[in-house]
């Protein structure tokens, strides 16, 4: 019985934690745009990195 009650409270706490995390993410604007990140992930960035490195070096 005690064990079940312990687990119930842990489950309750966990869901509360997720709820807080969710509310925070909504307020922080993570849900504003659900489409662009899916496009961003497809980026072929090896060449860009080289360019960025070159740019960094030239700035030094």
């Amino acid at each position: 019985m005690n064990l079940i009650l312990f687990m119930v409270s842990v489950a309750g706490l966990l869901s509360l934690l997720f709820l807080v995390a969710y509310v925070w993410s909504v307020s922080a604007g993570q849900m504003d745009d659900l489409e662009t990140p899916a496009h961003r992930i497809l980026k072929n960035d090896s060449k860009i990195k080289v360019l960025q490195d070159n740019k960094g070096r030239s700035n030094e």
Binding site: I4, L5, A11, L16, V26, D33, H39, K43
Partner: protein, 756 residues
């Protein structure tokens, strides 16, 4: 249609790539050619002025960078995101770039060394159309806040529903004794945030429905929610077994989520002042004591001297100070040919300047112009148009009233015999017959339809458009710019063969002209070079003349063209006609197929135009449209009136000059035009000017509507059977609360399967 070579996405262009970004990135990765933007600052010169730029700069005063927000037209695929977000990589002065693909917004930060003109030009050189805009309005801000609150409410409802399930399963499995009581009380406490927070929107809407004496679906949801809560709490307090917290919570969560999805789409199209919207990026050069000052349209005062560049729209009434000015007034009357104005003439707001640079004096400020008044009327009409009631609204409203009446009557009549059981059965009826399946099955079907349309490249603003299309059997087309392009084509000459010298002289006469006749001639005879004329000048409103080797030549538009279906131009040598040239408007290649497809679907097709009857009839002949269905010489207002009389109809027009007619139509379909303004007055907008979209959208609407009708039939049948069983006592509120989501699930799956 082939896939794009770079991104492998659908490619509707004739090239190997679906957009310029793919082409540039392909060259960058394969041929090591870094995208180098070509700067064309002349078009954006007004943004070089620091006063103008400051109006759009969203960074705080005295920051060491500038921030701008653009609406970007032309976003196609992932490559567009990659290229635009990589701007800082190949342009050092660009510090940060972030794109919102779903809203087509680009937020960009640049160093103070760069200006807005350069930035706009860079974006344009990559193949996009950037429109910079000022800070977010309070209205948009409020909508965003509302969206955030909605999302939080859904989050809470999800957590509540999941936890209720967690505690309900052991109870269903037969958990007894002390632990069961603890679980039941936890269920009660967990339910409270949903009852008082997540469901608050339903209370507001149900109440406002009651205030306006309308029984809304929300009222039914509130009754089912509170009925379930009161009954469960009563059971909990009296030690009974009937707890409905879990099913009620899932029910509320489902409804909230589907409604959010719908709203998400609707809020994409925010209402704004049409006139401001149309001219917001027009900046004018005002000349004051030989000094140039830049002003936006609303600041220009009467009597001020303004210099306009080629392509600019006039946002105010003005008197021409330059000798001559060629203007495009198709926005005002739809006529495809340009008009010439001479010094002292009055130009109306909405005219577009075609000459390279002209000086004007403002005689009527923007808000007093006819154009501004017309656009205001359109805004007012938009309000009326939203009152349209869909079949689903009607059915769910009637169903709600009927269910409430039956449940109430049943309770009153049987309470003395059945007592507590009477309440349970009435509640079961309300829960099972709640028209939620209808209330979110239809929006879901519409939502999926809208998404499908979006994938094909056209935007649908009003979701009820599918239902409206299914009731319409008439399509009215605007001729100019919709079925035909605004260009002319030379179809024949008389005599058939003209010698080389004649062609060269004609080309020389038209050398400096921007008239469509001149453009068509230059295109047709691109192999010939013009001779050098001794002098050449324009004959007011008629044509051009010039002298070559002592002979006087004239190219004159033949005004006696009432009975001709083409435009005739006479070539005269010393006053004697030597040749005739005939021009025709170019019919878009897809027009014929579209009209033929519409006839196959048994639609009536009508043609509207601002042009002369003979010319419109010729187009009608080519398209096999009956002369009785052709209306010519129609002005801005005539078109709107005619469309109103012909309702219900689909009006297909060009967003530039048909705004009023688009507004009047039962279903309005714009094939191009200024993005936001067009979107506000039209139900459907195909910015890529694909006319075939008309047929595609009709087919899509048929599919969506048949899905909705099947859903409605199913829901009515289900509710009738379920309702009778509930009243007979075969279904208790728990079973009802399980059956209700099942019916919703069936409807949802059916909808998704049909419209995937």
């Amino acid at each position: 249609m082939t896939d794009c070579v770079y991104c492998h996405g659908t490619n509707s262009t004739s090239s190997q790539f679906c957009c310029q970004s793919c082409e540039l990135l392909y060259a960058w990765f394969n041929d090591h050619k870094k995208p180098v933007p070509e700067l064309n600052l002349s078009k954006w010169s007004h943004y070089q002025n620091s006063e103008i730029e400051a109006q759009f700069n969203l960074a705080e005063v005295a920051s060491n960078f500038k921030r701008f927000k653009f609406h970007i037209e032309g976003l196609q695929c992932s490559s567009c995101v990659h290229l635009l977000e990589d701007l800082p990589v190949f342009e050092e002065k660009i510090l940060k770039s972030k794109i919102n693909f779903s809203k087509s917004l680009l937020e960009i930060e640049i160093s103070n060394e760069m200006n807005l003109a350069e930035l706009s030009s860079i974006i344009e050189s990559l193949g996009y159309k950037p429109t910079v805009f000022k800070e977010i309005s309070e209205y948009e801000d409020a909508i965003k806040q509302e969206e955030l609150t909605e999302l939080k409410k859904i989050g809470v409802a999800a957590v509540v529903a999941a936890n209720e399930m967690l505690f309900a399963v052991p109870l269903y499995a037969g958990l007894k004794a002390e632990l069961a009581t603890v679980f039941k009380w936890i269920s009660f406490v967990v339910f409270l945030p949903l009852l008082f927070y997540s469901a608050s929107g339903f209370y507001k809407r149900a109440w406002s429905g009651l205030v306006t004496r309308r029984v809304s679906v929300d009222l039914m949801i509130v009754v089912a929610l509170w009925g379930g809560f009161v009954l469960s709490t009563f059971s909990l307090a009296t030690g009974r077994e009937d707890l409905y917290f879990d099913s009620t919570a899932s029910f509320i969560f489902l409804i909230l989520s589907t409604r959010y999805l719908l709203k998400f789409h609707q809020n994409k199209f925010i209402k704004k002042d049409l006139f401001v919207d149309m001219f917001k990026d027009q900046v004018y050069e005002v000349i004051k004591k030989n000094r140039s000052v830049y002003k936006v349209f609303s600041e220009i005062e009467q009597g001020e001297k303004v210099k306009l560049q080629q392509g600019q729209f006039l946002a105010f009434g003005a008197k021409l100070l330059s000798d001559k000015c060629l203007t495009d007034i198709s926005f005002l009357n739809g006529e495809s040919l340009p008009h010439s104005y001479y010094v002292g003439d009055i130009l109306q707001a909405g005219s577009r300047i075609l000459s390279s640079s002209v000086e004007l004096e403002c005689v009527q400020i923007s808000k007093d112009t006819q154009l501004s008044k017309t656009l205001n009327q359109i805004d007012m009409l938009a309000h009326d148009k939203n009152k349209y009631q869909t079949l689903t609204d009607v059915i769910s409203h009637r169903l709600t009233v009927a269910v409430f009446s039956i449940a109430g009557l049943y309770f009153l009549l049987t309470y003395s015999d059945l007592g507590y059981e009477a309440f349970k059965r009435s509640l079961a009826l309300i829960t099972i017959a709640c028209p939620c399946a209808v209330a979110f099955g239809t929006p879901l079907a519409h939502h999926l339809g809208v998404r499908k349309a979006l994938k094909k490249g056209f935007l649908i603003k009003a979701e009820n458009v599918f239902e409206k299309i299914s009731r319409v059997k008439k399509v009215i087309f605007d001729k100019t710019g919709t079925l035909t392009s605004s260009e002319l084509k030379m179809v024949r000459t008389f005599p058939v063969h003209l010698d080389e010298e004649t062609k060269s002289i004609i080309l020389a006469l038209e050398k400096n002209s921007l008239h469509p006749v001149a453009i068509a001639l230059k295109k047709e005879w691109s192999d010939f070079s013009p001779v050098k004329l001794k002098r050449s000048n324009e004959i007011v409103g008629r044509g051009v003349e010039g002298e070559y080797e002592g002979i006087e030549y004239q190219l004159i538009k033949n005004h006696d063209e009432q009975n001709l279906n083409v435009i005739q131009v006479d070539f005269r040598m010393n006053g004697v006609v030597k040749a005739y040239l005939f021009f025709e408007e170019i019919l878009l290649p897809e027009s014929r197929n579209v009209i033929a497809d519409l006839y196959k679907k048994e639609f009536d097709v009508m043609l509207l135009s601002g042009d002369k009857r003979s010319r419109v009839l010729e187009i009608a002949r080519q398209l096999a449209v009956r002369p009785a269905m052709v209306f010519s010489e129609q002005s801005f207002e005539d078109k709107a009136n005619l469309v109103r009389q012909q309702n219900p109809c689909i009006f297909v027009g060009d967003g530039l000059n048909d705004l009023a007619a688009l507004k009047q139509a039962e279903v309005s379909f714009a094939v191009r035009g200024p993005f936001e303004a067009t979107l506000q007055v039209s139900d459907i907008y195909a910015p890529q000017k694909k006319l075939s979209a008309v047929v595609e959208i009709i087919q899509l609407a048929e599919k969506v509507q048949s899905t909705v009708n099947r859903n409605l039939l199913f829901a009515i049948f289900y509710n009738a059977v379920g309702g009778v069983l509930a009243l007979m006592g075969f279904i208790n509120p728990l079973v009802a609360a399980i059956l209700m989501p099942i019916s919703s699930l069936v409807i949802t799956l059916h909808t998704v399967w049909r419209l995937k």
